[in-house]
């Protein structure tokens, strides 16, 4: 078994949040996605969700606010999953709800050493 971290990236402005119904529908998509993974008896751990606001600190003392004008996509959440291979992780990520709002999933193996 290998452990992978999934980083969910999306353009916040494209994530539906105009009405409670839209937000609930999005939430349901995530819950159904996670339920479908757990139903396959795959060890999956939900990470925390991140808010769009943040700050970037650089060595020269420059601190900038988010959202980050230079890049549209930001990390807005993560999860860890235990599967045999990166191909298995890819299979799971292929139906991740973030893809429906134009986002993407970055999969990285966790170095267990």
């Amino acid at each position: 078994m290998k452990e992978f971290i999934m980083l969910f990236r999306a353009d916040y402005s494209k994530i539906p949040k105009d009405s409670p119904e839209e937000m609930q529908a999005m939430n349901k998509k995530w819950m159904d996605w996670i339920g479908g993974i757990e139903a396959q008896n795959i060890s999956f751990e939900r990470g925390k969700r991140l808010t769009p606001n943040g700050k970037i600190v650089r060595a020269n003392g420059v601190i900038t606010d988010g959202p980050y004008a230079e890049i549209k996509e930001t990390v807005n959440g993560h999860a860890t999953v235990k599967v045999e291979s990166i191909e298995d992780a890819v299979k799971i990520a292929k139906v991740c709800p973030i893809l429906t709002v134009g986002g993407n999933v970055e999969i990285r193996e966790i170095d267990l050493l």
């Binding site: 819950m31 159904d32 996670i34 339920g35 479908g36 757990e38 139903a39 396959q40 008896n41």
Partner: protein
């Protein structure tokens, strides 16, 4: 109550009380003596009542007789300890001839403590269920063998080995301390739930026995709810869950003992009183900040008491299964979740998800696939049901599946 029913009834309700109280008095290592005294008390009752008629207060008679037997035993034992084995140990632990307390309070406490002693994590769950049936529910060895579909010898051996193990572990008859109670309670609840399932899903054809197992499990759980140390949210959730399930007991089988599926059940046979009780305990379980798998399962069972197929119902059930699976995976939960998914999101999506599960050794996996393929690909539906048929074990199951195939 007719005479011939009175004694078995009293055995069921009083045997466990006498054993628990005596055992608490003597210590767990003397459990066989406690069982002997209780059995002997009932044997004498059969003889005496047969000759002299039933006493005005049979229960009091039994307690009195058990007390006398216990006193005689202790008396003989103390002569042996004090006169026959004199001076062997200077600080010999004499069992004092103190009064044996058969007050309702002590009976309740003793039974509850006995429950924790029996549901000890050091013995297997099978042994825990067996001992619970024998000591806490007053079941005969033959009935236990019937419930497990095995013979008396196997059960006797299993129970003896379990007791031996508990002696080795020096198990005390007491409630675990506050720091330990949640963890130990988990084992107790698991045993109670398995006991219930043993009755609810039993392959045994004996319907009375099946029902008794369920009722006993509910009674044990109710004892936990009644005690302030064990009246925790998860205990109420489990009791609620069992009430909801038990409410459908009369509707689950037809006159020939064949299983009637949920969709085909006659709602008027559902026990509305038990449904209300289930709702009451579900409300009681909604305190504190622990959410157990029993909470999820009770909430799912609540939605099943609403027969009408609404969007809201299946959406709620789906989300509850999503959460349940995050707490604990089980193949049955995975299959049920996929069924709920088909009801909430449509069959096409559910088929994709179902095929990912790949639970090919489960009959339910193939009945689910069969159900999902109906009207979408009837050939695949038929193939799935045929696979399910080859995995079905009981006659009832085979008939149910065959009916599905014939309909296609």
């Amino acid at each position: 109550m007719p005479n011939q029913e009175l004694l078995p009834h009293l055995f069921r309700t009083e045997y466990r009380k006498i054993v628990s109280v005596l055992c608490r008095h003597f210590g767990f290592d003397q459990i066989e003596i406690a069982e002997d005294i209780a059995s002997d008390t009932f044997l004498t009752a059969v003889e005496t009542w047969g000759l002299n008629g039933i006493p005005p207060n049979p229960t009091a008679w039994l307690y009195h007789a058990a007390k006398n037997r216990a006193k005689n035993y202790l008396h003989r034992n103390s002569i042996y300890e004090n006169k026959i084995v004199p001076g062997l140990q200077k600080n010999n632990s004499v069992i004092y001839l103190e009064e044996i307390d058969l007050s309702p309070q002590n009976i309740n406490d003793s039974q509850l403590q006995m429950m924790f002693a029996i549901c000890h994590p050091s013995i297997s769950t099978e042994a825990q269920i067996g001992l619970s049936l024998r000591i806490l529910c007053g079941f005969g060895i033959e009935e236990i063998a019937g419930a497990f579909l095995t013979n008396k010898e196997t059960i006797n051996k299993r129970l003896y080995r379990a007791k031996e193990k508990l002696w080795d572990e020096k198990i005390k008859i007491e409630l675990p301390g506050p720091s330990e109670i949640d963890e130990r309670l988990e084992t107790v609840l698991k045993t109670v739930y398995l006991l219930f399932n043993e009755g609810y899903y039993s392959v045994s054809q004996n319907e009375t026995l099946r029902k008794d197992l369920c009722l006993e499990a509910m009674r044990l759980c109710y004892m936990l709810v009644e005690n302030k140390n064990t009246n925790k949210p998860q205990v109420n959730a489990l009791l609620s869950l069992m009430c909801f399930h038990a409410s459908r007991f009369e509707a689950r089988f037809n006159k020939n003992g064949e299983l009637i599926l949920y969709e085909d059940q006659d709602v008027s046979l559902w026990d509305s009183d038990l449904i209300r009780k289930g709702e009451y305990f579900l409300n009681c379980s909604a305190s504190g900040n622990t959410v157990s798998k029993y909470h999820m399962e009770a909430a799912i069972a609540y939605w099943h008491t609403q027969k009408e197929d609404t969007k809201e119902k299946w959406e709620n059930i789906l989300q509850l299964y999503n959460q349940l699976l995050q707490i604990e995976y089980s193949p049955i939960a995975a299959l049920n979740r996929t069924y709920a998914l088909s009801k909430a999101n449509g069959k096409e999506e559910a088929i994709i998800e179902a095929e990912k599960l790949n639970l090919t050794e489960y009959r339910f996996y193939f009945t689910l696939l069969g159900e999902l393929y109906i009207d979408i690909d009837n050939e695949k539906a038929k193939l799935s049901f045929q696979k399910a048929l080859s995995l079905a074990k009981t006659r009832t199951d085979k008939q149910t599946i065959q009916k599905k195939i014939d309909k296609l």
